[in-house]
């Protein structure tokens, strides 16, 4: 696998931080009710700040497969959203020398009123593809997701499983330089899961770098050669898969840092 470009940096994250401002806006009604009843239900909380992520730095070289692990609320998904450009970071910079296809929340941008095919065009447009580029792929996409019969029917007539299959298939329709996965090993019946895992493994194979978030240490061990442990928004451990061992040991022994 070693090539001359192996040391090429594909993604450089420097001192990333993101701060969410927390406040409940007082409505006119809220103020009125509070004045009248002196109740505390409508009390305003002033601008609280919450650093969901701070001082996170890492580099991703060609061929790296980075797994991001950590407890719920550690900032894993937030980090991915910054990396793919959905959240602008409050601090720090991300520079990326690759096309990223994010597989984050699947099917979030679906329109239930239009047909599966039209949703496919729209979903692929978010990857920068025009209709003429998508059209030749459609047969394979609908066959793979097993919703061929519903191709020309509105998405609202689909079952949840069908929507999930179509969303997964569309998200994995084209290979990416840098693949970003957020717990997208979709669940379904055994037969589907097997197909889906094969497809995503093929995509991981084709990509030049991978960043994935998962709660399954098994998956991280299987697909990743680098690992980043987040804890309450801080990067506490970065290294090879030994990070997974340390994380599991710490949790298994009940030691909290």
């Amino acid at each position: 696998m070693a090539t001359a470009n192996d040391d090429l940096i594909m993604l450089d994250a420097t001192d990333l931080g993101i701060c969410f401002k927390l406040w409940t806006r007082t409505t006119l009604k809220g103020q009125f009710v509070r004045k009248l009843t002196r109740s505390k239900t409508y009390e305003t909380i002033d601008h609280g700040e919450f650093w969901a992520l701070r001082h996170v730095s890492f580099q991703l070289r060609r061929g790296d497969r980075l797994g991001i692990i950590g407890d719920n609320g550690a900032g894993k998904s937030t980090l991915l959203k910054i990396l793919v450009g959905i959240y602008p970071p409050t601090e720090g910079t991300v520079s990326c020398h690759a096309t990223i296809y994010p597989l984050l929340q699947l099917g979030l941008g679906f329109n239930p009123e239009v047909t599966g095919e039209e949703n496919a065009y729209l979903a692929m447009a978010f990857f920068g593809m025009g209709k003429e580029q998508v059209r030749p792929l459609l047969d394979e996409l609908f066959a793979f997701s097993e919703v061929e019969d519903f191709r020309h029917r509105p998405l609202k007539t689909y079952s949840a499983g069908m929507v999930g299959r179509l969303a997964f298939t569309l998200a994995t329709a084209v290979p990416a330089d840098l693949l970003v996965l957020d717990e997208v090993f979709s669940s379904g019946d055994i037969h589907w899961t097997e197909k889906a895992v094969k497809r995503i493994e093929a995509r991981i194979e084709q990509s030049r770098a991978l960043i994935m978030v998962s709660h399954s240490m098994e998956q991280i061990r299987k697909y990743c050669n680098k690992c980043l442990l987040l804890e309450k928004g801080r990067a506490v451990d970065l290294g090879g898969t030994e990070v997974v061992d340390r994380y599991q040991n710490n949790n298994g022994l009940g030691i909290s840092k």
Binding site: F20, K21, V84, G85, I86, Y87, P88, S95, C96, H97, A98, T99, I100, Y101, P102, L104, Q105, L108, G109, F110, N111, E113, V114, E118, Y121, L122, M124, A125, F126, F127, G128, M129, G130, K131, Q133, P136, L137, E140, P154, A173, V174, P175, A176, D177, R199, A202, Q206
Partner: protein, 272 residues
């Protein structure tokens, strides 16, 4: 699995210059416009024909009410009014639908990176589609209500261009306001009603007393609508000064709208 080469594999989208990002996002814009138009007429029997039937009925109602019942003295009043109502409706529909465009588009820009201008711009494009249909009716049916073509009509593409640019600027602003301040979505209907009567659409300019004419001059839509009124109803070309003002007003609006949008679009993922 077919192997497909990923488009422009060298650079990530959010690091491109903004104009290139918009070019990259053109497929999204196109799909948004198409689905918005399609869903509107989904499962309706007459479908697209409603886009034509609506202005036809509106025209008949206005004709009946104003020329037959109220006997407005102005010659072919329906044509006069429609030449103003259509561009104004294009503007007001585009701006009104833009105010919610970033709200309905939330699911998209929270799952992918996308230059968020495509959402208000899609609203403008949908409204332009309606305008085109209604305008065809005005020309086609207008002959029965006293519309006479003249050489001055050749200026109309320019009139429309100014109107579209101005509307784009206002829609960008309105979409931001609608996303950041929920109350704005309720204000916009009232504001549009006020603007409608503050623009010489249902009344000709010479009915307005001199002192109020000054105030009308502050309304940018007055100039932009006149560019339609003059060639369609008065058979005359807009003056050079009118065109200059239109150019300045529309470019000013779009520059201001785009600049503010660029400044505040980053915060959109947090404000909602």
């Amino acid at each position: 699995m077919p192997r497909v080469s990923s488009p422009d594999a060298r650079m990530n989208v959010n690091e491109m210059p903004y104009m290139l990002q918009l070019l990259w996002a053109r497929h999204v814009l196109y799909c948004l416009v198409e689905t918005q138009i399609k869903t509107r007429y989904q499962r309706s029997v007459l479908g697209f024909f409603w886009s034509l039937l609506n202005p036809i009925f509106t025209m008949l109602i206005y004709y009946f009410l104003l020329s037959i019942v109220f006997r407005v003295q102005m010659e072919s009043y329906t044509i006069f009014m429609f030449s103003g109502v259509l561009p104004f409706t294009f503007f007001s529909t585009a701006v009104s639908t833009s105010t919610t465009s970033l709200v309905t588009g939330e699911g998209y820009y929270k799952s992918y990176y996308i230059p968020k201008m495509v959402f208000p711009l899609a609203s403008v494009a949908v409204s332009l589609f309606d305008f085109a249909a209604a305008f065809a009716v005005l020309i086609g049916l207008g002959v029965f209500f006293g519309f006479r073509p003249s050489a001055a009509l050749v200026i109309l593409p320019l009139s429309l261009l100014f109107m579209v640019i101005f509307t784009m600027g206002c829609s960008l602003l309105a979409s931001l306001m609608g996303a950041y301040f929920v109350d704005f979505r309720h204000m916009i209907a009232v504001a549009m009603q006020f603007l409608f009567f503050a623009t010489p659409i249902v009344y000709p300019l010479d009915m307005v007393p001199g002192s109020l004419k000054m105030i009308l001059g502050l309304n940018p839509l007055y100039y932009l609508v006149s560019n339609f009124n003059l060639p369609i109803y008065y058979h005359s070309f807009p003056s050079a000064s009118l065109l200059t003002v239109s150019l300045l007003v529309s470019c000013g609006a779009v520059v201001l709208g785009a600049a503010l949008f660029r400044k505040y679009e980053g915060g959109l993922v947090f404000c909602r």
